[in-house]
């Protein structure tokens, strides 16, 4: 059960980050998901990413909607506030919370049902407002908690556990996000932590809405032969297009990169991501090109992964609003309220 505390084994020799925390300080309650669930691997990647980034755990706001994916914020960062909203409505909670206080890290976890069906509208509009947050879709093509109905991301021809075939075309969160103007669009696979952790780190450091669609197989209802969201199928059609290396501010770029295949992009906080092109015909800063590239590989049924589109100059919600730098949480009574009231009422006489 998710309220069960994980036993804290004290290993004095565990490495510590610059804040003095071990990776254990970023963990949460015990997962109640099925053994082998892809979501638990994503949780582990989130824990590692936050620890490596030296983020104060309590300066993160964790948010989710409803579904298996949305349970996971209880399994990491137990020192951070979390909110499990209603189904499909996490983006509005995140928008309001971020509006009130822009100084926390916002980490949203959603699922394919939560984002692409019931919450499709809110997902789209959070992108449109460019709310500064990391938004992860744990995508398994299926409704787990209600036992195996197809979701809107199920591929044509994919078979459900008891044999029905999906005939309706899927909604692809990556193509959708890019065409909506999302400023950071990536796809990962729960089975490839090496690729996922730097994507999460870059997403957390990106100013604006960072969407990572993570293929995360459902071992209970969608990991059989004939499913296109199974571990086996994902591995077979897995096509890493770009690998992102996240390099924190002030750290040197040490790796040798092959000329023409690496593209360093500086993020607003001074950190850098080096995009290593595995596929040379993809330019992640060209929106139309990215869409064309994705369409080509979709036709070949390949699951393209990596940081697929990035725009670092986009204005976020607060830049548009021209909000003051302070958080909007503290409300003081105004000493000039009576004078303001008098001034306003002069026009009502």
């Amino acid at each position: 059960m998710s309220f069960m505390k994980k036993p804290r084994a004290h290993h004095s020799d565990l490495p510590r980050n610059s804040l003095g925390y071990t990776i254990r300080d970023y963990e949460g309650g015990m997962s109640t998901l099925c053994a082998g669930c892809g979501h638990d691997s994503i949780t582990a990647a989130l824990i590692q990413a936050c620890w490596e980034l030296d983020i104060e755990p309590h300066r993160v706001a964790k948010m989710s909607g409803i579904g298996c994916s949305s349970k996971t914020p209880a399994y990491f960062l137990s020192q951070a506030h979390g909110i499990n909203a209603v189904h499909g409505r996490m983006p509005s909670i995140a928008t309001g919370a971020n509006a009130a206080n822009q100084h926390l890290h916002y980490l949203g976890v959603s699922g394919d049902g939560d984002s692409l069906s019931i919450g499709f509208g809110q997902f789209a509009h959070a992108i449109r407002r460019n709310v500064n947050m990391l938004y992860i879709i744990e995508n398994n093509g299926v409704y787990g908690l209600t036992k195996g109905q197809f979701s809107a991301s199920a591929d044509v021809g994919s078979r459900a556990k008891y044999g029905q075939e999906n005939e309706q075309p899927p909604i692809d969160p990556v193509l959708t996000a890019i065409s909506l103007g999302c400023t950071f669009v990536a796809r990962g696979f729960s089975g490839d932590k090496d690729q996922l952790v730097p994507l999460i780190q870059a997403g957390l450091r990106h100013r604006g809405f960072a969407m990572i669609d993570v293929i995360s197989p459902c071992v209970a209802f969608n990991d059989h032969e004939g499913s296109t969201k199974s571990y086996a199928h994902t591995r077979e059609y897995y096509h890493p297009a770009i690998h992102a290396d996240f390099i924190p501010p002030r750290e040197e770029i040490r790796t040798e990169y092959e000329k023409g295949k690496a593209m360093p992009v500086e993020l607003h906080d001074g950190s850098t991501i080096v995009l290593r092109k595995i596929d040379v015909d993809h330019d992640p800063t060209n929106r139309a090109g990215a869409i064309a590239y994705l369409e080509r590989h979709r036709e070949a049924r390949e699951i393209v992964t990596g940081l697929l589109y990035l725009e670092e100059e986009g204005k976020d919600l607060h830049a548009w609003n021209r909000t003051v730098g302070d958080s909007l949480v503290d409300t003081q009574s105004r000493s000039d309220a009576a004078a303001i009231l008098e001034e306003i009422q002069a026009g009502y006489r």
Binding site: A85, S92, G96, N321, T331
Partner: protein, 617 residues
């Protein structure tokens, strides 16, 4: 039939029938304001269609030195500017009253009541001779009827000119001259052709000092701004839109830094589901946040309102009620969301609701909503309506209470979290008032907890345990009971009350009136008129849900309580029955739900009918 004349100085109702989109609203507002400036109490009600241009619209002005700032039901003077509604308007005039029409075109001679006075003024003809541009001609025709009325009713032209100057300001000052010319066109014509002023007219008085003319959406927004709301999220819907418009204007002026940076965020959401989600998110984060909407919006917000109730997240919702069900009549008034607001959401939910009666109270209650929402960590409704929100009311000047300090509720600071001996537990009840302590995100690691709409124990942890679930629900019921002593008490007036040795003694009469919100003034006038006929009623106006002890007592001490409300199904009565379980048959409904503001005449006749029937049986 001999023709009598309405002979009421400073005590009559004037109604203007026009076509919407012709600029008549500003002409009517000018008319109302000029009477107010002459020191005479005045009421203005705008009955407008859900349309931009071309449909009938009416504006009703009651000039009332007895101070009945409500609809009476009479129309003593009709300005019939709309050919389409002429027959209806002609029929509505009270015998002895007046009808002014544009005599540029012949009127229908079949419609010729001999018990009213007909006044023809060739407005279009004269205005068209004077002005050239087509749009100007349309606008100026309205200003010309204001001029005609100024002559007939003895309005002060200097006051009208001053108001025009203030309206146009320095930037559009050159518009004052043509407008005054149009006023003169109407004014000079009636002075030449009729015996001015008429027996029904306005006489300068000194009865509006210390008052302002303002609508309730503006005052609610002003309350929100001064209460320190920093996040407003909304989706446009009539009749609530002007709340956020006003909030935006006030914040733009008073809530910016010297560098022009905003100390607030206004989010125009994609729908009401998102609007309330944003408010909940901001409230969870610790900011004062609100939304403004109407009935259909509340319907969409239900799931989140249930979430807010169960997770104990503060939120303020301004519901400006309009006519339902469904799209209903968006520009007409009703009190048909009383139940929807009080019990919004699935599962056992109850919400604190405040019911203002006019724009002045909308201001006070708006501020109180923010304090209550944070004090009780729950969604709180300001249940207003179109009549309060969009009509201009004459109310006493709004006052600022210098001792006001925002009540941020039981929020643990970083210091108190630092010194916490055990782990923080979100839903305990240490003070036995049903109100737990909360913590805000980002403040201190010891304050972290997981807010969930799913079953939770008093520790804030997930549960499906029967007893743990129930314990939390029972505490929330206690919290609601505590709220009853924090919400505004009802206004109660007895016919017989004396003070003996500093103590108030009351002797209730047999019958009482009980109403809510914008029913206030009409019921008061009915009570006043009935008293003149020898029938006495005590009076109670409910101002909040949960109902307080005083409401229960008021019902108990009367033989019959007439519950006056503006909906078909007697929602307030239903709530009183369910919550207070009074003796059967004690509550009698007086209902009004046609979309127009309640008129005193309706209340009066319904009560008289009921009592007559009861006597006969």
């Amino acid at each position: 039939m001999s023709k009598s004349s309405v002979n009421h100085v400073n005590d009559f109702t004037l109604k203007v029938a026009t076509v919407n989109g012709t600029g008549s609203a500003s002409a009517n507002s000018l008319l109302m304001k000029s009477i107010f400036r002459m020191g005479v109490p005045v009421m203005g009600k705008n009955y407008f269609p859900s349309n931009i241009q071309g449909l009938p619209t009416w504006y009703e002005i009651r000039v009332t030195d007895p101070g009945h700032l409500t609809r009476s039901g009479d129309v003593h003077f009709m300005v019939a500017m709309n050919a389409e509604t002429f027959a209806k308007d002609h029929a509505e005039v009270t015998p002895g009253g007046y009808l002014l029409y544009d005599s540029t075109w012949p009127r229908n001679r079949d419609l010729n009541r001999d018990d009213i006075h007909i006044i023809g003024v060739p407005l279009a003809e004269m205005v068209n001779q004077h002005f050239v541009e087509p749009r100007t001609r349309i606008l100026m025709k309205n200003v010309a009827y204001v001029g005609a009325l100024a002559g007939l009713l003895d309005l002060d032209l200097a006051v009208i000119e001053q108001l025009l100057k203030e309206t146009f300001g320095e930037r559009k000052a050159k518009l004052v001259k043509p407008n005054m010319e149009a006023v003169r066109i109407g004014y000079d014509y009636v002075l030449e052709h009729y015996d001015c002023p008429l027996p029904v007219r306005v006489e300068r008085a000194d009865m509006t000092r210390g008052h302002v003319v303002v609508d309730g959406n503006t005052t609610a927004a002003l309350g929100a701004m001064l209460a320190g709301a920093t996040v407003g999220a909304w989706y446009p819907i009539t009749p609530s839109t002007s709340v956020m418009d006003a909030f935006s204007a006030f914040c733009g002026k008073y809530r910016k830094t010297e560098e022009g940076e905003r100390e607030y965020v206004i989010l125009q959401a994609e729908d009401e589901l998102a609007a309330i989600g944003m408010v909940m998110g901001a409230g969870w984060m610790g900011a004062r946040a609100f939304t403004a909407t109407s009935g259909p919006g509340i319907s969409l917000m239900n799931e989140f309102l249930s979430f807010g109730y169960y997770t104990e997240t503060p939120a303020v919702i301004f519901d400006i009620q309009r006519v339902g069900p469904s799209t209903g009549m968006p520009t007409r008034t009703q009190q048909s969301d009383l139940m929807e607001c009080a019990y919004a959401g699935h599962g056992d939910t109850r919400h604190i609701c405040l019911y203002p009666a006019d724009p002045a109270e909308a201001f006070d209650f708006s501020i109180r909503c923010f304090d209550l929402a944070e004090h009780f960590q729950t969604p709180v409704f300001l249940v207003s309506d179109l009549d309060i929100g969009m009509n201009e009311w004459m109310v006493p000047e709004l006052k600022w209470d210098e001792s006001y300090r925002p009540d941020r509720g039981k929020v643990l600071s970083a210091e108190s979290l630092e010194s916490l001996s055990g782990p923080f537990r979100r839903y305990m009840d240490p003070d036995k008032d049903g109100v737990p302590f909360r913590t805000l995100p980002g403040v201190h690691p010891a304050g972290a907890f997981f807010t969930r709409g799913s079953g939770h124990s008093k520790h804030g942890t997930y549960t499906e345990d029967a007893a743990e679930y129930q314990e939390v629900m029972d505490r929330k019921a206690r919290k609601f009971l505590t709220a009853a002593s924090h919400v505004p008490a009802p206004v109660i007036e007895y016919c017989n009350s004396t003070e003996v040795g500093g103590k108030k003694r009351v002797r209730p009469v047999r019958y009482g009136f009980l109403t809510v919100g914008s029913g206030d003034l009409a019921v008061r006038e009915a009570r006043h008129n009935l008293k003149e006929k020898g029938m006495e009623f005590d009076y109670c106006r409910v101002r909040a849900f949960p109902f307080t002890r005083e409401v229960e007592d008021f019902i108990a001490e009367h033989e019959i309580v007439f519950v006056v409300e503006q909906n078909r199904d007697g929602q307030l009565k239903g709530m009183l029955l369910a919550e207070l379980e009074p003796e059967a048959g004690k509550l009698v409904s007086i209902l009004h739900y046609n979309g127009l503001p309640l008129a005193s005449m309706h209340v009066e006749s319904e009560v008289v009918d009921h009592l007559r029937k009861a006597e006969a049986s």
